[in-house]
C-alpha cells in the first residue's frame, strides 16, 4: 500500500490537514469542522467563490483514504503547479493577495460565514491570478463576533505593504523572518513619521500596535463585547481602502536598462531568442525555471508554449514589471517571483518543515540561466563546479549562456576589483559542468562572443 504523507505546512488548524497520496494532494476534513463545511457548500458560498475564481475548486473523494476516526470527508483540491511564498512576491502580488482576502471576507459575510484566518500563505498564484487555497478557513459567522483574523490580516498584508510603500520595497524580506506576519510594534518603528498622517495606517498599525503592547502585559477578555455586522463591514471597508491607497512604482531606470545596455544588437537578440526557442522546443518540458529572468522576455518564450514557467529575479523592480505584464496580457503560465539565487528561499517554520525551500519545490524539467554566469562567478565568487552541482540538483535539462571575459558586461564587473579569476575560461566552464551535465549542443552567438548551451543532467549531486 502506498504511504500517506501529511504535509507539514497544514497542521495548525484542527479542522483538517493536507496530505500526499500517490503523487496527488488531498485534504482531510475533520468531524469537528462538519457544520462549517456543510454551511460553506449548502449556503452557496463555495459555488459563488469558485465561480468567481476566488477560491480553489475541489472534488469530494469516495476512496477510503481517511487517516483518523475524526475524518468527515476527503477532498481533492485543484492542483497548483508551483507553490510560492509571500516573501517571494513583488509589491503588486502581495497587494492583490490582500485585496482578494478582503473580497472573500466581504462575500463570506453575505453568506453568513467569516474567514477564521487571513494568512498570506492561504493565497497562491494560479493561471496568473491570486487564488485562496484553504477551503477550511471559513466558519459560521456569529452575529456580534469580531473578525478573529483582523490581527493576522494587518500583520500579513497591511504592515509589509505599508513598509514597502512608505519605506523600502526590500523590506518585504522581513516576511521571511516573521512567518506570522510583521509585528506591528516593529512596523511602527520602521515606518517613516509621514505614514502616521495617513488615517488608516495610524489606526490599523500604530494604534493597533500600541494597543497590542498595552494589553500584552495586562491581558483582558473582551469576549462579552459584540460588534454589529455594519461596524464589521465598515472595518473591512476601511482595510480595503487602506490597502488600495498603498502604491509603489518602480523607477523605469531600475528595470529597463538591462536589455539596452547589454552586449546585444537587436539582430543578435533576435538570434539568441531563436536559439533559446529551438532548445526549448527540442526538449518540450512541462515545467521551467528561468533564473535571473529580468523582466521575463525569455521566460515568455516558454510560457507561450503552454509550459508552466517560473521567472525568478533578484530585483523587486524587474519582478514587479514582469508581473504587471502578466496582468496586462492575461498570461496564464508565467509566475514572476523575487529570488536571490546566492541565498535561495530556505526551509522555514516548525522543524524547518512548514515552508519548503526552493530545492524542495524542484526538481524542474528545464532550467534557463541566461546572462547570469558572470554575475555568479565574478560578482559572487562562486566556482563553476558549485554552480553546476546546484543546477544538477534542481533541474533535468539546462539552457545556459557562457559570457566570456572580453564581454563588456564582465569588464564592467571587473573594473572595480582585482581580477582574481584567471580560471574564468570557456574550457574550464565546460570541464566543470561535465560531471553533472552532458553538452547536447553549443551555439556561438557570433557578434557577441557568447555561447548558448543545451545540457542534459547526467548524475546526481551529492
Amino acid at each position: 500500500m502506498t504511504a500517506i504523507n501529511s504535509i507539514p505546512g497544514s497542521f495548525r488548524d484542527p479542522s483538517g490537514f493536507l496530505f500526499l497520496y500517490e503523487g496527488r494532494y488531498f485534504r482531510q476534513i475533520n468531524s469537528s469542522y462538519k457544520e462549517n463545511f456543510d454551511q460553506l457548500i449548502q449556503s452557496g458560498l463555495y459555488h459563488r467563490l469558485v465561480e468567481s475564481g476566488l477560491l480553489i475548486s475541489h472534488k469530494e473523494v469516495t476512496e477510503k483514504l481517511e487517516q483518523a476516526v475524526e475524518c468527515y470527508k476527503i477532498i481533492e483540491p485543484q492542483f497548483i503547479p508551483f507553490i510560492s511564498y509571500p516573501f517571494e512576491w513583488c509589491f503588486s502580488q502581495l497587494k492583490n493577495a490582500a485585496i482578494l482576502t478582503l473580497e472573500i471576507q466581504k462575500i463570506a459575510l453575505e453568506f453568513g460565514m467569516s474567514l477564521k484566518d487571513a494568512s498570506a500563505y492561504n493565497i497562491q498564484y494560479l493561471n496568473g491570478n491570486p487564488i485562496f487555497i484553504d477551503t477550511l478557513s471559513f466558519e459560521i459567522y456569529l452575529e456580534g463576533s469580531p473578525w478573529v483574523a483582523y490581527r493576522q490580516f494587518c500583520q500579513h498584508f497591511l504592515a509589509p505593504l505599508a513598509l514597502m510603500a512608505y519605506g523600502d520595497v526590500r523590506l518585504s524580506q522581513l516576511l521571511r523572518v516573521y512567518l506570522d506576519g510583521l509585528p506591528l510594534d516593529l512596523t511602527s518603528v520602521l515606518l517613516p513619521a509621514r505614514a502616521r498622517f495617513r488615517w488608516p495606517i495610524l489606526m490599523h498599525i500604530f494604534l493597533h500596535g500600541r494597543s497590542q503592547r498595552y494589553f500584552s502585559k495586562r491581558p483582558k477578555t473582551f469576549n462579552h463585547l459584540k460588534i454589529n455586522k455594519k461596524g464589521l463591514l465598515e472595518l473591512i471597508g476601511s482595510l480595503d481602502s487602506a490597502i488600495r491607497a498603498l502604491d509603489w512604482k518602480p523607477q523605469k531606470e531600475e528595470w529597463s536598462d538591462y536589455y539596452q545596455e547589454s552586449n546585444y544588437s537587436s539582430e543578435a537578440m533576435n538570434y539568441k531568442r531563436e536559439v533559446v526557442e529551438q532548445f526549448i522546443d527540442r526538449v518540450r518540458p512541462s515545467t521551467l525555471w528561468d533564473l535571473g529572468a529580468n523582466i521575463g522576455i525569455f521566460s515568455r518564450l516558454a510560457s507561450r508554449l503552454g509550459i508552466n514557467t517560473v521567472s525568478f529575479d533578484l530585483s523587486p523592480a524587474c519582478t514587479e514589471q514582469n508581473y504587471l505584464e502578466v496582468i496586462a496580457q492575461g498570461e496564464k503560465n508565467l509566475l514572476p517571483l523575487i529570488l536571490d539565487l546566492t541565498n535561495p528561499s530556505p526551509s522555514l517554520g516548525w522543524a524547518n518543515e512548514e515552508r519548503m525551500s526552493l530545492v524542495e519545490r524542484g526538481p524542474v524539467e528545464m532550467i534557463m540561466v541566461l546572462a547570469l554566469i558572470h554575475h555568479l562567478v565574478i560578482g559572487n565568487n562562486l566556482p563553476f563546479e558549485k554552480i553546476a552541482s546546484f543546477l544538477n540538483k534542481i533541474g533535468d535539462t539546462l539552457i545556459i549562456e557562457f559570457v566570456p571575459k572580453t564581454d563588456p558586461q564582465v569588464q564592467k564587473l571587473l573594473c572595480t576589483r582585482e581580477d582574481i579569476f584567471p580560471d574564468y575560461t570557456q574550457d574550464l566552464f565546460e570541464d566543470s559542468f561535465k560531471p553533472y551535465f552532458s553538452i547536447e549542443e553549443r551555439i556561438l552567438l557570433k557578434s557577441t562572443g557568447r555561447t548558448l548551451y543545451l545540457m542534459k543532467k547526467v548524475g546526481r549531486s551529492g
Binding site: E139, Y150, H208, Y214, I227, N228, G231, L235, S238
Partner: protein, 78 residues
C-alpha cells in the same frame, strides 16, 4: 493609557451603538486582547460615522423637502 482608552471606548459606544454584550466564541486563531480592543473601538467608530452619515442624510432630505414645500404654492392644497 488604560483609563483613557476605556473612557474613549464608552464614548464611542454611546455614539455608534455598534457594540453590545455576548458570550465568548471558540477560535483557533488568537485575536489577542490588544487586537480585539482596537477592533471594537474602530468598528464602533466606523459604525458611528455611518450612523451620523445616515442621520445627516435624513436631516438634509428633511430640509430639502421643507424648502421645496415652501417654494411650491400648491403644496398646501394637497
Amino acid at each position: 493609557m488604560g483609563n483613557r482608552l476605556i473612557i474613549f471606548y464608552f464614548t464611542i459606544q454611546s455614539i455608534g451603538g455598534s457594540l453590545y454584550f455576548c458570550a465568548p466564541a471558540y477560535a483557533y486563531q488568537d485575536l489577542g486582547s490588544g487586537s480585539y480592543f482596537i477592533q471594537i473601538i474602530l468598528a464602533a467608530l466606523f459604525g458611528g460615522f455611518f450612523f451620523l452619515k445616515q442621520y445627516w442624510k435624513k436631516v438634509k432630505n428633511f430640509l430639502a423637502r421643507l424648502l421645496n414645500r415652501k417654494e411650491d404654492p400648491n403644496d398646501g392644497n394637497q
